[in-house]
Amino acid sequence: MSTVVIAVTMGIMYWWCRGMIFSYFGFLFISSPVTVGLVAGLLMGHPMQGLIIGGGIALVFAGIIAPGGNLPTDECLAATCVIPIAIGSGMSATTAIALAVPVGLLGSFVTNLRKVVNTYFVKKANDYAKEGNAGGIWRCATLFPVLLAIPLLFLPVFIINMVGQDVVVNLMNALPTFVTHGLEVAGGILPALGFALIMNMIGKEKLIPYVFLGYIVISVGGINSLTAGIIGICIAFIYVFQKREIMEEVSSDE
C-alpha cells in the first residue's frame, strides 16, 4: 500500500484517539499501540510484525494512566509515528520500542496545546447559552473541536509518516550505541513511573507493605501474573473483612 494511504490512516487514528472521539473507545481502543500496530501491519502486508511491535510498545506504556486527563507520555503518538517506519525499514521490535519512548514525550505537548486552543469554545458556548441555543452548544462540544483537531493532531502525524522513514532510519544509524541502549533501558524503567503515579493517586502510605508483598510474590515466588492477581484479591478481602470485624467489635463495646 502506498505511503500516502498509510500516512492518512495513521493521521486519522491519532486524530481520533487524541481528539477523544467517543471518549474511552478512542482513548483506549484506537489509541492502543496494539490496534495501531495491527492496522499498520495489515496495510503494509505484515500484520504479525505490526502486532508484535505494537504489543512491545504497549507494554512499555501500559502502566501510564492519565489521572485527571493529564497524559505524561503519549503511546498513540509513539505508535502512529514509529510502527509504520519500523515495519517499512525492517527495524527490530527492541529498536522500535526505544525509538517510541522519546516520541511519546512530544505527545503531552500536543494534547496540552489542544486544551489551550479549546478554551475558545467556552466563550462561544456561553454566548449560545444566553440565547438558549442548545444546538449551538452541542456543536461547540463536538463539531468545532473535532475540526480544529485536524491541523493540530492529524497533520503532524501525516507529515512524519510521509517524510519520516529516511530521516528516522538515518538518525537511528547515526546515533551512538549507548544512546540507543540508553533508550532501551529507559523503556524498561518507564512502566515504574505509571505504577508510582497510581500509588500516589491512592495516596495511602500505610499500604506500602502490600507493594512489597506483590513484588516478592512474583520476583521471589516466581508466580505468574494471573495467580498473583488472585492472591491479591484474597488479601484485599481479608483486609476488608478484618477491618469490618474490628469496627463491629469496637461499636459493640460502647
Partner: protein
C-alpha cells in the same frame, strides 16, 4: 375551567429515550471539547441540552440552565454516570417545583462529587481494571496473538456498561442515592479493598514488567547474579520507590521525570552501569 392546570402538571416527563440520548451524547463527546477553562463543561452541557430544552419551555429558564451546566466539570467519563443520572433527576425535579430544588443544590452536587467519583473511576477502573486489561492485551500482542484486540474491546465494554448502569441507577433513585452509594459502608469497603489490591498489583507488575539489570562485573563475579541471590531484581523495586518519592514528596511533574529517566538511562548506558 378544566383547562387551568398548574405548572407541575405541564412539565413534561422524561422518557427512557431521553436518558439514553444523554448517555450516548456524553459518551461520545465527554473529552472532545476538553479545555483548561471548564474542562468537560461544554460536553456536559451539550449532552443534557436536549433534556433541558424539553424540561424548560421558557427561554430564560433554559438559558439559565444551560449556563449552569457550562461551569467547570471534570470527572471520569463512565463512573461519572453516577453524577449524570443524579443531575438529570434533579433538573427534572427543578422543572416541576423550582422552590424545592434550588439551582445551587444542582451545581453543588456536581462540583462536590466530581472529585470523589473521578477518584473512584480513575483509580479503580483505570488504575486497576484498565491496567490489567492493557497488560493482558499487550502481552498477547507481543506474542503475536490477535486476540489482544478482543481483550481491549472487553474493557471498552466494561466502561460502557458501568456508565449505563450508574446513570440509570442514580436517575431512578434520585439525589439521595449517589450519597448513599458513595457514603455506604459497602462502597467504602470496595474502595479500601481495591486500594489494597492495587498496591499489591503495583508491586507484582513492577516485578513482571519493569526491567533493569546491570552488566557490571568485578573480575569474574557477575554482580547481577550476586544481587539476585540476596534479593531477586532489586533494581526495578528501587526504581519504583525512587520515582514514587519524587512524585509524592518532591512533587516533581511527570514530564520532568520522564525526561529525567531517559537522561539518566543514557548516562548510565554510557558509563556501562546498566
Amino acid at each position: 375551567m378544566s383547562k387551568e392546570v398548574t405548572t407541575a402538571d405541564t412539565a413534561p416527563a422524561l422518557t427512557k429515550k431521553d436518558l439514553n440520548k444523554a448517555m450516548f451524547r456524553w459518551y461520545m463527546s465527554a473529552e472532545m471539547p476538553l479545555n483548561f477553562e471548564n474542562m468537560q463543561g461544554i460536553a456536559f452541557c451539550g449532552s443534557i441540552a436536549p433534556i433541558l430544552k424539553k424540561l424548560y419551555t421558557k427561554k430564560e429558564d433554559l438559558a439559565e440552565a444551560l449556563k449552569r451546566h457550562l461551569l467547570l466539570y471534570n470527572c471520569n467519563v463512565t463512573a461519572g454516570g453516577l453524577i449524570l443520572g443524579t443531575t438529570i433527576a434533579m433538573e427534572e425535579q427543578r422543572a416541576k417545583k423550582p422552590e424545592v430544588m434550588p439551582a445551587e443544590a444542582i451545581t453543588g452536587l456536581k462540583t462536590g462529587l466530581m472529585g470523589p467519583v473521578a477518584a473512584l473511576g480513575d483509580s479503580f477502573d483505570w488504575g486497576i481494571i484498565g491496567t490489567l486489561f492493557k497488560i493482558a492485551a499487550a502481552t498477547l500482542a507481543a506474542a503475536g496473538n490477535p486476540f489482544a484486540i478482543a481483550v481491549l474491546l472487553a474493557f471498552v465494554m466494561y466502561c460502557i456498561v458501568e456508565l449505563v448502569f450508574f446513570t440509570n441507577l442514580t436517575y431512578k433513585k434520585g439525589r439521595s442515592s449517589i450519597k448513599t452509594i458513595m457514603g455506604s459502608g459497602l462502597m467504602q469497603d470496595v474502595i479500601s479493598g481495591a486500594n489494597v489490591l492495587a498496591m499489591f498489583m503495583m508491586g507484582a507488575m513492577t516485578a513482571s514488567m519493569v526491567t533493569l539489570t546491570t552488566p557490571l562485573k568485578i573480575s569474574s563475579v557477575v554482580i547481577q547474579e550476586k544481587l539476585d541471590g540476596i534479593f531477586p531484581g532489586v533494581f526495578p523495586l528501587a526504581a519504583l520507590f525512587l520515582i514514587y518519592y519524587l512524585v509524592r514528596h518532591k512533587k516533581i511533574g511527570t514530564g520532568k521525570i520522564v525526561i529525567g529517566i531517559i537522561a539518566v538511562s543514557i548516562l548510565c548506558a554510557l558509563i556501562g552501569i546498566f
